[in-house]
């Protein structure tokens, strides 16, 4: 009797006294608002505000240190007549399109290879992801050194193998420079595709494959009619993420060519940097950056619609 009384006593003392703040936080709406506050403040200050400011900047003629006056759409009209800008737009679409096709094909191939059983699989997977996790600028410098016109190891190898007899000027020729940045982007992106698609492959039950095999499906048919449709949702998301990153890429081109030779490899971002930061024409730079927005918006909307459709199913 005495013990249970004491226990009850203790329970009574231990019961928290709830002040007004605690009671307010018991309300889901208030707690939700409080929990989202830090995120909302940071995103408003450093995403929403700069976006609005970018739009406002792009309709003025501001330079570094000069506030500028309203000029309407003049910056955008000037861009439409700017040959370098048009080439940058063309380059960005080519760069995004070509690299995405190669990254998807090679990444899928690598994922299928890694999905088999073999010794040292975990270690192989860990090493495969290295190009993706090592800071891009630093690994791109390794490529720039490998593409060096005078000391290129790639040229050396091709020369010794009797494939070439004069040097290949990887980064000095406009078309080769474009091919070079595409190669490096594919190199960096394949691991991301491979590891993400591998995760998708691992969720597919092997029994489906076996059932198809028993029904007489050949390997290629099994892939096309069983694996690929089941992998499609993951593939869609991976491709859309990668397309956004590639479309807005900066560091790789900045390090390898800086947009050269003769502005042949500019993307939206590198050209915006050259105009906005390099020459200090803030408003034109902001306009170039913003010109990316419509294309990115299309990709984001496709992604949101697709996610919604998947969630409904």
């Amino acid at each position: 009797m005495a013990i249970s009384y004491a226990a009850r006593e203790r329970a009574y003392v231990a019961a928290p006294r709830r002040g007004p703040v605690t009671r307010l936080l018991e309300d889901e709406r208030w707690l939700g608002a409080l929990l989202l506050l830090p995120t909302a403040v940071l995103l408003a200050l450093f995403i929403a505000y700069p976006f609005v400011k970018g739009v406002l900047l792009s309709v003025t003629d501001a330079r570094v240190g000069v506030p500028g006056t309203f000029v309407g759409l003049q910056n955008f009209i000037a861009l439409a007549h700017d040959g370098i800008f048009r080439e940058a737009v063309w380059n960005t679409f080519i760069y995004t399109g070509v690299t995405t096709v190669f990254k998807l094909a090679l990444g899928l191939w690598l994922a299928l290879l890694l999905n088999r059983h073999f010794r040292g699989k975990a270690l192989t997977r860990a090493f495969v992801l290295l190009p993706f996790i090592i800071p891009t600028v630093l690994s791109t410098f390794a490529w720039k050194w490998m593409f060096d016109p005078t000391f290129s190891v790639i040229n050396w190898t091709l020369y010794r193998l009797d494939i070439i007899d004069s040097r290949i000027n990887w980064l000095g020729d406009p078309q080769l420079a474009m091919i070079s940045i595409i190669i490096v982007n594919v190199w960096r992106g394949v691991p991301f595709y491979a590891i993400s698609l591998l995760a998708g492959l691992q969720t597919i039950s092997p029994e489906l494959q076996e059932a198809a095999a028993i029904d007489g499906a050949r390997p290629w048919q099994r892939f096309w009619h069983v694996t690929w449709p089941l992998l499609l949702p993951v593939t869609m998301v991976v491709v859309l993420f990668s397309v956004i990153q590639t479309f807005a890429d900066f560091q790789l081109v900045y390090v390898l060519t800086g947009g050269g030779p003769a502005n042949a490899t500019h993307l939206f971002a590198t050209y915006a940097y050259q105009i906005g930061v390099g020459t200090g024409l803030l408003s034109e730079g902001a306009a170039i950056s913003l010109a990316m927005f419509p294309a990115l918006l299309v990709v984001v909307v496709v992604q949101l619609l697709y996610i919604r459709r998947v969630e409904i199913h």
């Binding site: 928290p16 889901e28 989202l36 700069p50 090592i134 720039k144 915006a272 930061v277």
Partner: protein, 283 residues
Amino acid sequence: MIEGAKWRRWVYFYLPLGVFIFSLLFPFYWMLVTTFRPDAELYRPWMAPNYTPFWTAHPTLEHIKYLFDETLFATWMVNTLFIALASTVISLFCGLLAGYALSRLKFPFAGSLGTGIFVTYLVPQTLLFIPLADIIRNYHLGDTPWALILTYPTFLIPFCTWLLMGYFKAIPRELEECARIDGATRWKAMVYIIFPIAVPGILSAGIFAFTLSWNEFIYALVFLSSPEQKTVPVGVTSELIRGDVFFWGPLMAGALLGSIPVAIIYSFFVEHYVAGLTGSVKG
């Protein structure tokens, strides 16, 4: 095994896998060799005879010495580490709270706020850097680590929130309800019951956020100007190139040493990293 299966396995499996691994890792091997190769060997034209570029007979530490004696490389490393850690902590804090709210609480506009955060996840840094540089200048944050510590969370928080939402959704509601019947407040149930269960998710998000901030380039390039404030990627880019002259030895040494912290963390937490990567894709 079926007759002929062996060569098939070599042609369709080992050979392509070998080619993949070789091409993916060769640039890193090349970084390593260049770091320890003396200048005399480094700058020998590619057509010169007796040229053995794939290893070196005279390894040297001169490039690493140059990096630490003649440049501020050690300072850049400390800067990068501090910035990456601080922005990771801020992002995890915000992401945890926001992820919990969006996945487990019912309040008006929860759905559209979640979509809003997801959309900011897809806003690339290159879209905003010019107006943002202006704002950073106005707040007097230019050329300080805080310019990066406060802006990196803009791309880290959405990622952390999105990833942690997945973890929170998988935790059964009953756990929290039990705690609340036992007298815990919502706040306490969240901090003491739900967050500890989500630790693997927090670790994944943290490691991913850390490597992303170590990797970030354009904000660091635009917001920082004095050499002693720079991060490793920017410092290596701007201080080891004079005009058209590239100091390839120190450059590769810097690239190698600058990658090591990320590589170490990655090697300890590969599984968490992969979980973070694939979790972010699956949403």
